[in-house]
Subunit: 344 residues, 2 copies
DNA sequence: CTGAAAGCGCTAACAC
DNA sequence: GTGTTAGCGCTTTCAG
């Protein structure tokens, strides 16, 4: 008979099984002491009968581990962030950890609040993707909690970090556009004070140089990493003189926003403007047109991030991952499945 | 001087402040006993000096509350789920609670594992959106943990639930298409054994009846609630005879997948096929074309869900929310900003 | 207003 | 192989 409420404790089980509480623990934890098979069965039966559920809070206090990780993100509504969260969640569960999710709602103050909150709750480790370029690294360090930065920040001693070479990826993706023959490639960048925005712009610059194309600073359109940001940036671009025929959007949301803005002016992608973007998700493959995008090996990154926390020794661990270019229709070098000769 | 690690405990603070540990608690918790202002300051200083961080696990054990909620979702990669998670996270934080996020990865077994995991961790309450129509309600009930179902399930005693009248919403959205003059409206439904899929199909049926249109069962295309599902369903629809010129997709992902499939056959939305969908997110407004979609008042729902947990008395609470139809371009009754006379 | 002390439910020595 | 018990760090009652 299951109890109506979760008030059953380990000593109830012990009583019913006719053993001591220690034995119950040994059974539950498969150690650290052996238990006779017959006793073990009695305990197991008692657990079933009582509907006993080990109190994780008490276990955490006694054992010193919560089996919980924390994840701080700017906004779970961002599709790339959600993809990252998804793989981290899966990988953590594989290691027996659940995740406390802190969604900062793009608010710096809230982010700090959340960090304290998760730290107080004694997470075994923290994955951290900051709202902006001023992550609260000191706070986390002071707590002694293992943590991994998921986005690029100023290199610092004692800060572990995952990253892809965004400068190189930006170089590659811009070069891809240039190789199509475009002489002008615009860039919708992230907020200029963010390092990953700088990296991407830098790669863009280098690609222009490599192709002997003069860099036109007016082709940089800073925007937030959102659909709205991309939408507005594209509008600004169209409002100005000499809008480029090729464009590099710094994330998938911006790309989609830009395409929306274009469509409102009857500008087609890729026929009128070739487009590539960063950090595409599965969404890119279903978009019309499909998006040419730089993708990151998220699954590997998640596994690595967890390994970093587990092998934590207080020293910084840097792990760089390869990116890959997923060619879609948006850059124009693929046969476009869609055309305008329509019948049904 | 902050300590290098999180080993500072309350008694360290007490020692430094020259008080007892109880007083430190009184200061931290603003009660339950008053503390002299001067003592209070000494304690506060000691806390600052030591870098003391209250141990949430110990607090939870002693106080009986973890200040943590749990959220079980099928997959955080689904944009609608992510939107829901976002608002719940924000609302929870407003009430001082953090969230343990359980992402089942669309796997029933994993979902159960997660439920046990969160329950063991003594969450103060659980928000539950099941992978399929067989939610593990008994497990949660047996634990005595307050919980709210976020999706529609078989009405049961003792099960609180949020919902919108999906039958009615489906009726409305289908009627909207019919009012445009279409005689045939297809439906990409969810998996047929899910209640919300049945509800939506039922509303679709009733709308046909209300408009005196004979119901053609072959126009029901069951699919998973994903872009891939919508894509495949649309392909099936196009492969069959008499593909309808109007279509109701059961969620945003399906709609986007369907549009992709259409575009590959040079079928335009809304010119060739009028489309509406359920549970659109902000994404719908940036899509080309913008999507006509049924939206739910997520923010209100989140607040309500939390209130249900807080006022938990073991009795089922049912709360129904109004939906609203957001008219976009995809159904064809709006001036389409996009056209095909293109120049740049 | 402050201090002492009894738990909270469990882990893991340490005994036997 | 099993039982006893000292913590884990905190909340809160009960005495001063």
């Amino acid at each position: 008979m299951k109890q109506p409420s979760g008030k059953v404790t380990r000593s109830d089980v012990a009583k019913l099984a006719g053993t001591s509480v220690a034995v119950v623990s040994y059974v539950i934890n498969n150690g650290p002491r052996p238990v006779a098979e017959s006793t073990r069965q009695r305990v197991l039966d008692a657990i079933r009968l009582t509907g006993y559920r080990p109190n994780g809070v008490a276990r955490a206090l006694a054992s010193g581990s919560t089996k919980t990780y924390g994840l701080i993100v700017p906004n779970i509504g961002n599709t790339f962030v959600a993809s990252m969260a998804h793989v981290l969640l899966q990988a953590s569960l594989d290691h027996g950890h659940v995740m406390l999710l802190g969604d900062a709602g793009d608010d710096r103050q809230r982010e700090l609040e959340l960090i304290h909150s998760l730290l107080n709750r004694q997470v075994d480790g923290l994955f951290y993707n900051s709202v902006d370029r001023h992550p609260y690294i000191d706070v986390i360090k002071a707590s002694g909690t293992p943590f991994v930065m998921l986005d690029r920040v100023e290199p610092q001693p004692g800060v572990s970090m995952l990253r892809v070479d965004e400068r190189q990826a930006a170089f590659q993706v811009t070069s891809h556009l240039l190789s199509h023959g475009y002489q002008q490639v615009g860039i919708i960048s992230g907020p200029l004070d963010m390092l990953n925005a700088q990296d991407r712009i830098q790669g863009w610059r280098e690609a222009m140089a490599a192709h002997a194309v003069p860099v036109d600073e007016s082709l940089i359109f800073p925007a937030s990493y959102t659909r709205q940001g991309g939408y507005e940036a594209a509008q600004r671009m169209l409002a100005g003189p000499g809008a480029p025929r090729a464009l590099f959007a710094s994330n998938e949301g911006q790309a989609i926003g830009a395409i929306r803005a274009f469509s409102e002016r009857n500008i087609r992608v890729p026929q009128d403007v070739a487009l590539v973007c960063f950090n595409g998700t599965d969404q890119s493959a279903f978009h019309v047109p499909t998006l040419t995008t730089v993708r990151q090996p998220l699954r590997d990154m998640a596994r690595c991030a967890i390994a970093m926390l587990q092998n934590w020794n207080g020293e910084a661990q840097l792990q760089e991952f390869p990116h890959y270019l997923e060619i879609g229709e948006s850059c124009g070098c693929m046969p476009h499945k869609e055309n305008n000769a329509t019948t049904i």
